[in-house]
């Protein structure tokens, strides 16, 4: 099953190109950016979860010594009812602006309502206290099922439900309801020997990147705006800022600094347009930084959700029917990842009769953002635990069950697409064959669980330019910000084409004026799609270098071949030259060589993984300890195996945090009460064992080297795998996330 192709660079583990800068502290992240004359901006945030803003008086703040400007929603250019397409679906411009600076209503505690620019950050913070906002406090609704009730407080008086394409008459918190259906559900359930149905809830959780959001903006009198910031996509920042501020994209330049984690949460803009507005008012560069509490309270978490799942199977272990109901919290404005959740819910399996209903529901929480396989984990927690229960009922090994039902090439997903070659069954086989699965687990309160996770992966647009240097190296200019080693994984694909070493490539992440359009680092697309563009750019270089060799040898281009890094003459002349040698002769053969490549590939190819976990539950405290963890995943072809393992390990651990500890805890006023890393507890290294990452390689036919994106899939399986392990340990089925000590004790009747 493994890819047998021989590669020179791909599959090796070179030191990443930005490594030295990052271990010496020299790499410049957004907050590290300095410029002469810098002012500092800070945001005033709503203390209320739901309130009408009757008036904002900024006069006292404006008069405070050291304050240079104050902005509110009044400073936006008029929005009207425009609908804008930012490449990830249409959004309302009014909602986009309102989330950046609230106009008539604050919809969550932490919602930005005003901003100050001052000579230093402390002065700006002091001035925030002098902004007088008159709020009419309204009752909040923070839970998806409450928000769906007829008598729930309404967030948006004008929001009508999109009910399978038809707009409802009455306003509602339900922004949309859609359905995917396949086969005949009644027939399927009638054929089942076992039918199991349960309800599940999951808490709101945050991406939890360690670097808070940041932005420095400089507006020049010629109308040119420059923004230096940490972002997953400089071009999406450009698009959002230009829409929000109604400026042409050509007037906005975004310079991506290094980024300290994103996981989907650094796509949507919050403070970037505000820094720009403050710079417009002051004529000076303005840096705005968020605090950790700002990040928790004001930036996109991933939804809390209510999920109901019903699965029928025969006693031989064949799934006959499956029905899912997903209600996801969108946060303050429509746009939860319930659509992606519905793509993923049944996609590990080949099910003849299946249905999924999706509801996108607004609540008084921050507008949700993408978070690593957005929407998939919530659904998988339900599906993969119900499957475990079915396996128990029919007495079948849960991995055998997954192999029997695994989706394969040619099978149709419930949401429509037909699978290309995928490697799900192979990941289950790898888990089954791993020593972990056959090692006996002894001891009281210990249990082993398994679960699988699916993510479709995305392609989208990327651009790469390659400049050949006279010493035989290349500079590779790309638009994808590097969050986890993609400079290396992209450079290695170009190096493979040109027969040079990974170290002979200098990757450069460029600003929006210096590289072709490139979509976000997200959707597990970067090594796949920007790698594809790098492959194309390197092919372009190769073609031009063949021309140069032909010129040098005074032969026809068709008489030059390139293999293993060497150009050879094929017409009998004894001529050969390697890439470096030829690069040294560009001046004599026509001047510089610049290669270009763009990609908008459609064959992203899903990545699926299967996890095995051993836990021990402390019956007195309810604490769950992870004893051993193994994660298998289909990477198609691992370009840089260390960073593929890193994605699998990191994703698994985020999933462990989601499973066991992480949640937004709200009081009755709708206020998050744990907006710090002390109280919102992400896993530390003391909580964990080593994470054994097993790379399975079933090449993706949609990529020249077989790459599948790997970043998102590994977060999907952990909560279900751990729930299944907890059941084996203490005999209790957990159906609520997180499975924190308190919830375990409640479930076991201890409290």
């Amino acid at each position: 099953m493994a890819d047998k192709k021989e590669y020179k660079v791909i599959g090796t583990r070179p030191i990443r190109h930005d490594g030295v800068d990052k271990v010496t502290g020299r790499a410049l992240y957004g907050a590290d950016f300095q410029i002469v004359g810098l002012l500092h901006g800070r945001m005033l945030r709503s203390p209320h979860a739901h309130a009408r803003i009757k008036s904002i008086d900024t006069s006292r703040a404006e008069a405070y010594p050291g304050v240079k400007a104050v902005v509110t929603a009044k400073d936006f250019p008029g929005a009207g009812d425009a609908i804008v397409d930012l490449g990830e679906g249409a959004v309302s411009l009014k909602h986009l602006q309102d989330n950046v600076l609230a106009s008539n209503k604050a919809l969550y505690k932490g919602h930005q309502v005003a901003a100050v620019a001052a000579i230093d950050p402390h002065t700006a913070e002091e001035a925030l206290e002098l902004i007088d906002v008159d709020y009419e406090v309204l009752p909040p609704v923070i839970n998806v099922r409450n928000a769906m009730k007829e008598d729930a407080p309404l967030l948006h008086e004008d929001l009508r439900t999109d009910e399978m394409g038809e707009k409802s008459e009455k306003p509602s918190n339900i922004a949309s309801h859609f359905q995917h259906k396949k086969g005949d559900l009644d027939k399927g359930f009638a054929e089942a020997d076992v039918v199991i149905e349960h309800e599940f809830t999951t808490a709101t959780v945050h991406q939890g990147y360690i670097e808070p959001h940041n932005a420095t903006a400089l507006y020049n009198p010629d109308g040119q705006l420059t923004i230096w910031c940490s972002t997953q996509g400089a071009f999406t920042v450009r698009a959002q800022v230009s829409e929000i501020l109604q400026m042409p994209v050509s007037k906005v330049k975004v310079v991506p600094m290094e980024i300290g984690g994103g996981f989907g949460g650094k796509i949507q803009v919050y403070i970037k347009p505000v820094a720009a507005m403050l710079s417009m008012k002051t004529g000076k560069p303005v840096k705005v930084l968020m605090s950790r509490a700002d990040v928790f309270e004001g930036t996109g978490p991933t939804p809390g959700s209510y999920v109901r799942v019903k699965i029928g199977a025969t006693k031989e272990g064949r799934i006959t029917a499956a029905e899912g109901y997903l209600a996801y919290e969108a946060g303050a404005y429509p746009g939860s990842p319930v659509g992606a959740g519905a793509m993923c819910i049944w996609s590990c399996y080949n099910i003849e009769n299946a249905l999924v209903d999706g509801y996108d529901v607004v609540v008084n929480k921050p507008k949700t953002s993408a978070y690593r396989a957005p929407g998939a984990t919530n659904a998988a927690f339900a599906v993969e635990t119900v499957i475990d229960e079915i396996c128990e009922k029919i007495g079948m090994d849960p991995l055998e069950f997954r192999i029997l039902n695994s989706a394969k090439e040619g099978d149709t997903r419930v949401d429509g697409p037909v699978f290309p070659r995928i490697g799900f069954a192979e990941t289950v086989e790898a888990a089954k064959e791993h020593p972990h699965y056959s090692t006996s687990l002894d001891g009281k309160y210990r249990g082993r669980g398994v679960a699988s996770g699916f993510w479709p992966n995305f392609g989208m647009k990327s651009s790469v330019a390659i400049n050949v240097t006279s010493d035989g190296t290349i500079n590779l200019v790309e638009g994808s910000t590097d969050i986890g080693g993609t400079r290396a994984s992209i450079a290695m694909q170009a190096a493979e084409v040109l027969g040079i070493s990974a170290e002979s490539v200098t990757p450069i992440v460029a600003d929006t004026n210096s590289v072709g359009y490139t979509d976000v680092t997200g959707g597990s697309r970067t090594t796949f799609a920007t790698g594809y563009a790098a492959y194309e750019a390197a092919q372009d270089v190769k073609r031009q270098m063949i021309e140069r060799a032909a010129k040098l040898w005074e032969v026809d281009e068709s008489e030059v071949e390139f293999a293993d890094g060497v150009f050879r003459c094929t017409n009998g002349k004894e001529e050969e030259i390697d890439f470096k040698g030829l690069a040294g002769q560009l001046d004599e053969t026509g001047g510089p060589v610049v290669g270009r490549g763009t990609a908008d590939p459609t064959g992203a190819g899903p990545s699926i993984g299967t996890h095995v976990v051993d836990v021990e539950v402390d019956p007195e405290t309810g604490k769950v300890q992870i004893l051993r963890y193994t994660a298998t995943q289909d990477a198609g072809k691992a370009i840089h195996p260390s960073y593929v393992e890193g994605q699998i390990q990191g994703g698994a651990v985020q999933g462990i945090g989601w499973a066991l500890n992480e949640e937004y805890i709200y009081n009755e006023k709708g206020e998050m009460t744990n907006a710090s890393f002390l109280d919102y507890r992400i896993p530390t290294c003391l909580d964990l064992p080593m994470i054994d990452a097993v790379i399975v390689e079933v090449p993706n036919p949609g990529h020249p080297y077989g790459v599948r994106g790997v970043g998102e899939t590994p977060i999907v399986a952990p909560p279900a795998a751990i729930a299944n392990a907890i059941y084996r340990a203490i005999g209790v089925r957990m159906r609520e996330l997180p499975m924190s000590p308190g919830r375990i004790l409640k479930a076991t009747g201890k409290i």
Partner: protein, 162 residues
């Protein structure tokens, strides 16, 4: 506006003097006064360890120390670890083990690991995990970080005995 305090101190072996406001943290001074931006702000309340520095031989979160407090003391930051032509073995081990992804927590982890290995040159896996529990990483799942520190300990011990 408060007047500034004059501070004389040693940072990465060099004598340094600066002015800071009494309310400014050591992290703010390092980043905004001295432009040593290798120490990162992840939380500003001592929970994440991204701002870890060594103060008179002791590992601290620089966001929880005032700039004025370092008068007459000695501070080691991530910028002081490498030699002009050679990385510190811990830095090398982080690169060799691919123990970083986004890299924002990396300076803090490297400084914390140095403080550990200064005290305990041969830590067990558990001792490494216990010591580094004050440093949060959201990308790696810690596996490769722990391995990097294990490797660095081994390399540094063999250098000492050689």
């Amino acid at each position: 506006m408060p007047s500034k305090v004059h501070v004389q101190t040693t940072i990465n072996g060099e004598e340094v003097e600066f002015l800071c406001e009494p309310r400014q943290s050591l992290l703010e001074v390092l980043r905004d006064v001295l432009y040593l931006t290798g120490s990162k702000e992840g939380c500003n309340n001592g929970n994440c360890g991204a701002c870890s520095v060594i103060l008179d031989g002791r590992l601290v979160n620089s966001c929880l120390v005032l700039g004025a407090e370092i008068e007459g003391k000695s501070v080691e930051t991530v910028e002081g670890l490498a030699e002009p032509d050679k990385l510190h073995p811990i830095q090398d081990a982080f690169l060799e083990n691919a123990a970083l992804q986004c890299g924002i927590c990396t300076p803090g982890f490297i400084v914390a690991a140095k403080a550990l290995l200064d005290k305990n040159p041969n830590p067990t896996e558990h001792e490494i995990r216990y010591w580094l529990a004050g440093n949060l990483c959201r990308c790696t799942g810690y596996d490769k970080i722990v391995r990097a520190v294990q490797d660095a300990a081994q390399i540094m011990s063999s250098e000492v005995s050689a």
